[in-house]
Symmetry: C2
Subunit: 587 residues, 2 copies
Amino acid sequence: MKGLKRTHFCGEVSQIGTEAVVCGFVQKVRNLGTLLFIDLRDRTGVVQLAFNETQQPELFAKAETCRGEYVLMAHGTVKERESINHDMKNGNVELVVDDLRILNKAQTPPFEITSDTKVNEELRLKYRYLDLRRAPLQRNLVMRHQIAKAAREYFYANDFIEIETPMMMKSTPEGARDYLIPSRVHPGKFYALPQSPQIYKQLLMVAGMDRYIQLARCFRDEDLRADRQPEFTQIDLEMSFVDVEDILQMAEGFVHHVFQQVLGREIPLPLPRLSYAEAMNRFGSDKPDTRYGMEIQDISEYVKDCGFGVFTGAIEAGGSVRAIVAKQAAGTLTRKEIDKLTEMVKGIGAKGLAFIRWVEEKPSCSFGKFVGEDKLHEILQALDCQQGDVVLIVADKNKVTLPVLGALRQTVARKLDLIPEGQFNFLWITQMPFFEWDEDNNCWMAMHHPFTMPEDDCLQYLDSAPEKVIAKAFDLVLNGTELSSGSIRITNYELQQKMFQALGLTDEEIEAKFGFLVEAYRFGAPPHGGMGIGLDRLAMVMLGVDSLRDVTAFPKVQNASELMSACPSAVDKENLDILGIAVTETE
Amino acid sequence: MKGLKRTHFCGEVSQIGTEAVVCGFVQKVRNLGTLLFIDLRDRTGVVQLAFNETQQPELFAKAETCRGEYVLMAHGTVKERESINHDMKNGNVELVVDDLRILNKAQTPPFEITSDTKVNEELRLKYRYLDLRRAPLQRNLVMRHQIAKAAREYFYANDFIEIETPMMMKSTPEGARDYLIPSRVHPGKFYALPQSPQIYKQLLMVAGMDRYIQLARCFRDEDLRADRQPEFTQIDLEMSFVDVEDILQMAEGFVHHVFQQVLGREIPLPLPRLSYAEAMNRFGSDKPDTRYGMEIQDISEYVKDCGFGVFTGAIEAGGSVRAIVAKQAAGTLTRKEIDKLTEMVKGIGAKGLAFIRWVEEKPSCSFGKFVGEDKLHEILQALDCQQGDVVLIVADKNKVTLPVLGALRQTVARKLDLIPEGQFNFLWITQMPFFEWDEDNNCWMAMHHPFTMPEDDCLQYLDSAPEKVIAKAFDLVLNGTELSSGSIRITNYELQQKMFQALGLTDEEIEAKFGFLVEAYRFGAPPHGGMGIGLDRLAMVMLGVDSLRDVTAFPKVQNASELMSACPSAVDKENLDILGIAVTETE
């Protein structure tokens, strides 16, 4: 590389008549006999290098040795191209090369380095450094960077300071499992990786830091799904002297800023809001996708006397009969398709699926023998149906009916292709219940987390009717994905003790796990609250990709291993001895 | 807090005649009978709240109940103050309060929340959330934030993109010990916390990401010193298509930017450079503090025939006799002090310390009986000494003489108070040796790391004389602290294999530890290099504090525990069973 310095990124070469030095990877070589063209690629795009055998035979011969993914540096003059390539942003020019350096050679890669390479993901992840050369992944990482950059810009401009909290902290298992780190200096003891910086950021408020932000790595030892990774990044923030409204406003400003900066899109503010109860009633979900309608409707009133045992039984047991209407879907939702949907809802807890398919003039109805034609039309009218529509009905306790119809709504929307692309529907879910009943352990659990402040006027129900206690907690939903959750925190020593007790923690457990936190509240804690916004998920939705792996440089797969480096891996017994631990079980 | 919103930070209240709402902690209450003043503190400073019993008796009574560290919100009007407090930036005004809310009460804290609180650090760390309320620590965290912000600004503006690399990676023990994380899904296997993102950032270059930066948390399971923490943050960067000079220039631009932005100081560029050999010869250190002179001088030539066995023996064995001159230090460096220094140098490997103390006309000299008066004056003249100076001399092999005098130079400079405050002396150390001999393990070790590129013209010595191989590696030193080290990396498959072999790794070890990295070089790796700049150390030196604990929100102490949360801690056997490990040793 002696004597030459890059002057332009490949994608930037455009000004005819100027000289340029570019560096990059060979995307493609086209040898036309006496003319040879190399598409040279870097992070910014591609530029065509041109060689002419007649004019520069030696250079041409060198260029002829280049293969895909060779690493080159080239000096030349920018000329207008004879045949313009309209797929390239600088496809009207080429660099007529007069100096070519082959900086490194390359074996044929195990798959094609193209945007639409056809190869299974496993192979791509094994050679992740090659996969990341592909334009879509390059774009994803650049845009993720821009999202993080916009986040910092916005919060810094709003008086937040970024403070780094420890990655090696105390294990306080709540919710997910902690990843543990054995201590060498204190054998038998362990650090934990943070599930979130929750406790530290609250202590930073007690410390008077006032407004904290951190793009914080968080860790959860859970079984993975497409939208889970063992480690992920949270735009984590906390503010003092605020109430719910202040935090929502701050977050809305962020949403507006990041979409404007990164996608050039104006998100209208304020963002819509739904109470938790309304979201459940209308969409059967606490994170509804509002890009399409098909809301859940209650038809209990119309069927309560119909004589169909499934319906009347559900209503009499305090439940309900509810429906979604798939408009003009009779063509797609055939009897066979409805059978599949029935299997699906049975798989998630429903006893069955009733339906009305209004294809011909007379609707076909799974419970037709129980309701007269008039009743049926009354129901269809109540649901505002037309011929061509399909009504799907679930009858059960509300805690079954609603989530089942919520899930069904999503499945049907996908099947009918109702979900518009490129649209961003935000939604606040507010007035969350504080407690949820844990059937497995037969106790109340904190729906958000135990540090959440209850609404003032429902403290009276704490002992008598915990289900009535509303938390000062809120979620931010984007296109059906939960992006963020937050709350106002308890800052009163006695109240925090009381909430822990309501959650069934003994005094010893409180002391052992959270002693230092509640102790801190004795010394003057400012009112505070905050939220954590999933950066990876935000990037995933903004970029319109399906998997967190597409916005993560070196992701792990379902079984929490990284295919490229083959990690996790065995370690020498000697190293474990130093830590005072032993392996008791192997794969 | 209903109905009131903060309008100003405390330190911002200044405009006479305006109204303001402030929030904060009570710093001090002064009750003068009918007048009462509260100093209210937040992150930005202090404002005086004023109450008048005659005019507002109820408010006054409420204010009278306030104690130190109570959390208040107050509304009032900004008035000119009768007695100006020149120690406060807004000490000329006060807020005459007409609405006061006590948001939270506070117990008396275990130590005074003042800048110069007199209490041992252990107690401060146990109540870190109170310690962090003190102005010096608030300032440190704010400035650390500003340093990180300036770093991102600078590198983003130079086409770097920030990419997050995994925290749970493969254990590849090199240098320090890894922290390990047992895997639940793969019992018997472990992840490791990164000692640095070295391998990942190199793979990002192979992936064509071109310019990478990350403020990356790094972890080393080492025994701690004042300037070590088990976790620390590195401004980690890597660039493609560059040589050493490009990286140095980029880093110099950063240094200039961060000092200008954060301290308003202009660091003159280019930064001075010394080769490793010259730094060792002149300062006895690879990270010399150049804020003061007292360089090491070689007096072998003058004493080689003096007949003093210690000197002549050292020289004959291929070593040298070298000295530092403490100018006008005879008053401080008494015989007794020199005895202490002798003990010190013996503790770090020297056999003894010779000296010349030129107090009276006739210098007193520890080896006087071996050298005549003329010889002594010749030496003193060669060393450019005056009456009042003290010469300290070590004779041994160079690998003893130099580092011992280097350490002595530092000790003496501190004793004589030669080190100027508020001065920032940067220094590049270049032309580092590739290998250093590991006496413990009787093998060559990579001085920087095994991925470092050797200088082209010394590859010939790889087998015959490894000590002659110079690496394309460099360190950045600030005031005697190593801030950063970096290098150009090997990007050639064969050469990397060869370097691993020279370091004594077997093919199996190479494959197991670095197989995926060297494999990557087969597919076209661009030339690249980079560095990691210690953010915590940079902050420490810029802020002029002595310990990393002063620039870390929640630091760990010497034994790697965090006093506030009492971490690490024991975990239930049940949790370990799930991970397939058992504790074999406890504290």
